[in-house]
Symmetry: C2
DNA sequence: TTGCTATACGTAGCAAGCTACATATATTGC
DNA sequence: GCAATATATGTAGCTTGCTACGTATAGCAA
C-alpha cells in the first residue's frame, strides 16, 4: 500500500476507534460523543446560540444536528427557544439540570483524550495536528 | 480548546470530509468508499478470502461487512462461495465483470488521495502517519 | 463420543453521517 | 411594495458504524 493510502487508512482507524471508545464510556450516562460535544459547546455560551452556529462549530450538516437536538431536548438537557424578532431561527439554551452533566462530560473527554494521547510527544502532536488542519482546508476548498 | 481536543476535532473533520468527497465521486458508479475498499482488497487476492479475513483487513465489525457484501453481491460484483471441508466459512470471489471497475476505483482513489495530500511534504506525512498508527495501537490495546 | 467452547456468519436495531427536498421567514433589488 | 433570492429549520431516506443476540459448524477435551 502506498504511503498516502496507508495514511488515510490510519486516519479512519483512529477516528472510528476513538468514537467507539468514547461512546462506550458515555453509555452509562445515556450520552454519545456528538451529543456530548454539542452540550459542551453550548455550555460555553450561556446566552445561547442558534442551530446554525452550533452546526458550524461541530462541523456537521444540519439534518444531523436536528436529530442530535431532538434527542437532547427529549432528555430535557436543552430547549429550543424562539428568538424575538426572528421567527425562523431558534436560540438553543442549556437547561440548568444539564450543567453538572456537562462538567462530567468535559472531564471525561479530557481524561480520555489524555489517556489515549499521553505517549505522543507534544511537538509531534502539534505537527500532526497542523498536517490535518491543512488537509481539512484543502478538502473544504473543494480542490 | 486544548491541543488534544483540537487534534481530535481535526481528525474527525478530515476523516469525514474525505469519506464524503470520495463517496460523491463514486456515486456515478454506484459505489461508496467502503465498498470500493472491499473490492480493491479482494482484487489483490485472486484465490479469494473468507469474510473474516476481509473484515480484519478493512477494520470493520462483521455485521458491517455482511451488509457491504450483500450490496456487492446484489450488484453482481462478488459471490460467496462455499469452501469445501469448511461449512461455516465462505470464500469471497470477485466476479470477472468487476475487474475493470476495480481498476477504475483504484485509480480514482489514488488520484483523489494525491489531490488532497499533494501539499503535504512526504516527511511530514510520514510523521503524521506514525503518530496515528501509534494512537491506533494505544486504542486497540484498550489502555 | 459427547459435550463444552470457539469460530464464522447472519439478523435486529440504534446512532450519526450524508444528500435531496420541503416549509417558513428574512432580505434584497427593482 | 412585490418578486426573487437567501437563510433557518425540518423531513425522508440512504449508508455505514456499532452492540447484542442467534444459529450452525468446528475443534477440543474429558
Amino acid at each position: 500500500m502506498n504511503p498516502e493510502a496507508f495514511f488515510i487508512d490510519q486516519l479512519r482507524r483512529v477516528t472510528l476507534r476513538w468514537r467507539t471508545r468514547f461512546d462506550a464510556e458515555l453509555k452509562a450516562q445515556g450520552q454519545t460523543l456528538v451529543r456530548a460535544r454539542a452540550l459542551v459547546y453550548l455550555a460555553r455560551r450561556p446566552e445561547g446560540m442558534t442551530q446554525r452556529e452550533l452546526t458550524e462549530q461541530l462541523m456537521v450538516e444540519h439534518p444531523t444536528m436536528v436529530r442530535i437536538l431532538d434527542a437532547l431536548e427529549e432528555q430535557g438537557l436543552i430547549r429550543r427557544e424562539p428568538i424575538e424578532g426572528n421567527r425562523r431561527a431558534n436560540r438553543l439554551i442549556l437547561s440548568p439540570a444539564a450543567l453538572p452533566m456537562v462538567d462530567e462530560l468535559e472531564a471525561a473527554f479530557a481524561a480520555e483524550a489524555h489517556r489515549v494521547l499521553r505517549h505522543v510527544p507534544p511537538d509531534k502532536l502539534a505537527l500532526a495536528t497542523e498536517v490535518l488542519r491543512g488537509i481539512a482546508e484543502q478538502l473544504e476548498e473543494g480542490a
